[in-house]
Subunit: 317 residues, 2 copies
């Protein structure tokens, strides 16, 4: 009998969200726990199981569930482990998919969070029907999932697609990875805040953003200010979009995708960020690609996207 | 009956080399014509056929030949065309694989020259047994062929792998493609000559390279000078290796390859170029990849490599 449900688990630095998803990509039930409250992976799995058990019963029991898909920072599809994730308190190598599989008695598969999002986007979202696209997640960090010929790229060791850590500015800003000038240091939530800080400190021009404590400026604040015509806010989007557009032009030279899909907080700024991204991407593309590469925002419901993407891994088992 | 031979044709801006290759990768016979002497593709195909016909007879006739593999600048695997190749006098779109197939009465397949080299390397060369690697050709231009999961990456439109045109230096040197700062403007034969010119003109230090007309300095000249301890020559390799190592670190972040394979004139400089490439790659890699990425020179005989690579396309038919 074909098993009609999958469990999707999205492990983030702060929250872990999980749910049961049907084959049409409908999240039929959902719950969550706080990741950072669990000093060991065994403890979080205990609590996830306690919360999932009644939801599993609601869909007719575990025999109706094909498997568990997990998206996690530094999740390695080949090994089933989370390996040295900087944002989690579980250190070293955690054999998470084995722990999950043992606990629930069904297969479990893991990948990193951005890869999970890319698969979700391909099966249920803006990349439906596409065989070649690059998903870029713009959140606390900048992640990516690369799809070539309908398949996620894992590379030789399972860690392919670290596009947040290509060098955008040689000897530029320090990045959390310990290196300088990474895309993530400019296009992440924190990167946008740093750009705001730099511009506000180096210029004397009036700005609505000066009413906000400089360390706590978010892309939402920049969007609100831009909506009111704030020139500093517009300059922040122009700068961020330039860095992203330039990076994307190089990504296109690599895999010649049909589309770039953008996901995460920054995309809520709509055209304010999309326009400079597309302008600078076009300026930096080889002629053969000019006017041909779609740049799209994810069209998955953000609250469900991570769980959907993780669950979608199961259909590939 | 299994057909034991393939024809490989490598179309370059100056010469077109072709030969008959057996299933073990042995070039059993070879010939060539001068590409730029033929104003139309039909005329070059006529002469290629005249030269190939006796060679085909030597291996028992056309019924022993599975097909024709062609490597050509801007060769598009999907369409079978050469599309707007800047270095060829045949303008616009040339349906080369159809013309060849019609002329010889056997299947023909085309890809760009760097992709052909990558396939040759995977089947017969330094990348034997590898499923994830990136081939970088350092010649008149800088080309690349990317292999992921054992397959060449063509992308949505067939033009993937233009790594010579990622941006190495923002607003840097002008490139033949019309843009600024491309890797090709630094790591091609011409790029090395430009670096030599810049260093010789901006410094007064003595150098053996000052005995050579500045416009005609080749990487061979730089190698010869470096062998004698010439400081300018060493600086040229350091600079070129830095640009290449930095670019390669970004390529690794994309597809997490097992190895980078380098091919072409510059590789004849051996450790003089390899050492700075590896040093700067390591400095710029994310921690997860440090010490793990092999950088290798092609081990194909250069005279045969292009024909071998093109012929290898046929075995994938």
């Amino acid at each position: 009998m074909k098993k009609p449900y999958a469990i999707g688990i999205d492990i983030g630095g702060t929250n872990t969200v999980f749910g049961i998803v049907d084959t049409h990509g409908k999240v039929v039930s959902k719950s969550s726990v706080q990741t950072n409250q669990y000093p060991t992976p065994e403890l979080i799995i205990d609590d996830i199981k306690k919360k999932l058990d009644p939801l599993i019963e609601d869909v007719g029991g575990i025999s109706n569930i094909k498997g568990i898909g997990i998206g996690a920072p530094n999740g390695n599809h080949y090994t089933g482990n989370i390996e040295y994730a900087p944002n989690l308190q579980w250190k070293g190598v955690v054999p998470l998919s084995k722990l999950m599989s043992d606990k629930f008695g069904i297969p479990a598969v893991i990948t990193n969070d951005a890869n999970a999002a890319a698969i979700g986007e391909m099966i249920y979202g803006a990349a439906r029907g596409m065989k070649n696209f690059i998903m870029i997640t713009l959140g606390t960090g900048v992640g990516s999932g690369i799809v070539i010929d309908g398949k996620l790229v894992y590379g030789h060791d399972g860690f392919a697609g670290e596009l947040g850590h290509v060098c955008s500015v040689r000897d530029g800003r320090s990045c959390g990875c310990g290196r300088l000038g990474c895309l993530e240091a400019y296009a992440s939530a924190n990167g946008v805040a740093r750009t705001a800080k730099e511009i506000l400190e180096n210029q004397t021009v009036d700005s609505l953003l000066r009413n906000i404590p400089i360390e706590s400026i978010t892309s939402k604040d920049v969007f609100d200010a831009a909506s009111k015509g704030d020139v500093v806010a517009l300059e922040i989007f122009e700068f961020t979009g330039k860095i992203l557009g330039e990076a994307i032009a190089d990504f296109v030279a690599f895999s010649a995708p049909e589309a770039i899909i953008l996901f995460g907080g920054l995309t809520k700024s709509g055209d304010y960020i999309m326009k400079p991204i597309v302008d600078h991407m076009e300026k930096n593309l080889l002629k053969i690609w000019q006017g041909k590469i779609k740049v799209l925002f994810s069209d998955l419901n953000e609250a469900d996207a991570a769980v959907l993407g993780a669950s979608a891994l199961v259909w590939e088992l």
